[in-house]
Each structure stands twice: as structure tokens, then as C-alpha cells.
């Protein structure tokens, strides 16, 4: 029973550490500014760019035929 509780505590800790939400509480007259740097992973974008450009090229060549 004790080990089960330990395991549950670890699971909850893992979930909260892996994807946590930041909640701020402060004085509305002195707002807090948070500068978030959003890093865009380009793998999906590059695949999208290649697909679109291939589609444009293929459609363009087919239209000429």
C-alpha cells in the first residue's frame, strides 16, 4: 500500500514536471511582464515547405503539357 502511494506520488510529480502551467498572482496596478521566447521547431515546417513547393512545381509543369 505504501509503495503504491509512493508510485502515485511519483506519477503526479512527473506529470506536473513534464508539462506545467505557470500561474501568476500579483498587483493589477503593477503588471508583471513575462517575455516568452517561442522556439519554433522547423522540422514540420520544412516538410510543409517542400510539399508545397513540389506541388507548385508539379502542377506548373503539368499545366504546360
Amino acid at each position: 500500500m505504501k509503495s503504491f502511494l509512493k508510485a502515485m506520488a511519483l506519477i503526479l510529480l512527473s506529470v506536473s514536471a513534464a508539462g506545467c502551467t505557470i500561474k501568476t498572482v500579483g498587483d493589477p496596478n503593477r503588471p508583471i511582464t513575462i517575455n516568452a521566447n517561442v522556439v519554433v521547431d522547423i522540422r514540420g515546417l520544412k516538410q510543409t515547405a517542400n510539399s508545397i513547393e513540389d506541388m507548385v512545381a508539379k502542377g506548373g509543369r503539368d499545366a504546360e503539357k
Binding site: I42, T48, A49, V56, G60
Partner: protein, 137 residues
């Protein structure tokens, strides 16, 4: 011994959750080809051969922001370039919108498309490098 086992399982679970959250955050792309995006793609297909000809004559080059630039040839070339860039901008902005990316995201999208255009450029065509210099591939 039992305590160690629990700790190991906990750590493994943490690693798994961290990996899953990082993978799910990486799925940027075109989520839906709406009729207006399709129209922009069809427009681009329609001028593809004209643009390819202008590129081979070096009257048009691919810049480092994902757009084409007139390098010579006069008003007719300028008109083709303006129409092409309008459709490209429309596609980029829609990708940014569909992925809830702001102005910084749009700049990233533009630079990724620029990279793909540089890779797809044929030998002898004009391309702008990330540092701003123009060169022939």
C-alpha cells in the same frame, strides 16, 4: 531495493512524458488546405513556367526571406514578382495563423521556405544567402 525500483520507474515515466510533450510541440505545418490557400497554390502553379524562365535568365532570384526579387527585365518582370510574392505571403501568413504563431513565427516560416527555395534552385540561378549576399548557385 524496492525503493530503488520505484525511483527508477518514476524516472522512466518522467523521461517518457518529457519526450511526448517535446514531440507534440514540434508539429508545425499546414493543418488544412482551405479553398483560399488552394487558390494561391493554383495561382503559383499557373506562373511556375514563366517564373522558371525568368530565373534561368537571372531576371529573378530567390531572396533569403522566402520571396522572389526582380533583378532585371523591367515592368513585366516586376508584375510577375509582385503577384508571386503576394501568393507566397498569403500562404506563409495562413501557416502562421493555423499554428497560432505570431510575427516571429512568420519570420521563421519565411526563412524555412527561403532555405527550401535555395535547395531547389537550379545551377546558375540567383539566390540570396542567409547573410544577405547574392550569388549564383
Amino acid at each position: 531495493m524496492r525503493k530503488n525500483k520505484t525511483l527508477i520507474w518514476g524516472f522512466a515515466l518522467f523521461c517518457l512524458l518529457a519526450a511526448v510533450s517535446s514531440v507534440s510541440a514540434a508539429s508545425y505545418g499546414l493543418k488544412e488546405v482551405t479553398p483560399v490557400i488552394n487558390k494561391a497554390i493554383v495561382n503559383r502553379q499557373g506562373r511556375y513556367e514563366i517564373l522558371a524562365g525568368l530565373k534561368s535568365q537571372n531576371n529573378v532570384g530567390e531572396d533569403n526571406r522566402g520571396y522572389v526579387k526582380a533583378l532585371g527585365g523591367g515592368a513585366q518582370v516586376e508584375a510577375v514578382v509582385a503577384a508571386e510574392n503576394e501568393d507566397r505571403r498569403f500562404i506563409y501568413e495562413n501557416i502562421a495563423q493555423q499554428n497560432n504563431l505570431g510575427p516571429e513565427g512568420l519570420a521563421t516560416i519565411e526563412s524555412v521556405f527561403a532555405e527550401v527555395q535555395r535547395e531547389k534552385a537550379k545551377p546558375g540561378e540567383s539566390i540570396q544567402l542567409p547573410d544577405g549576399q547574392w550569388t549564383k548557385k
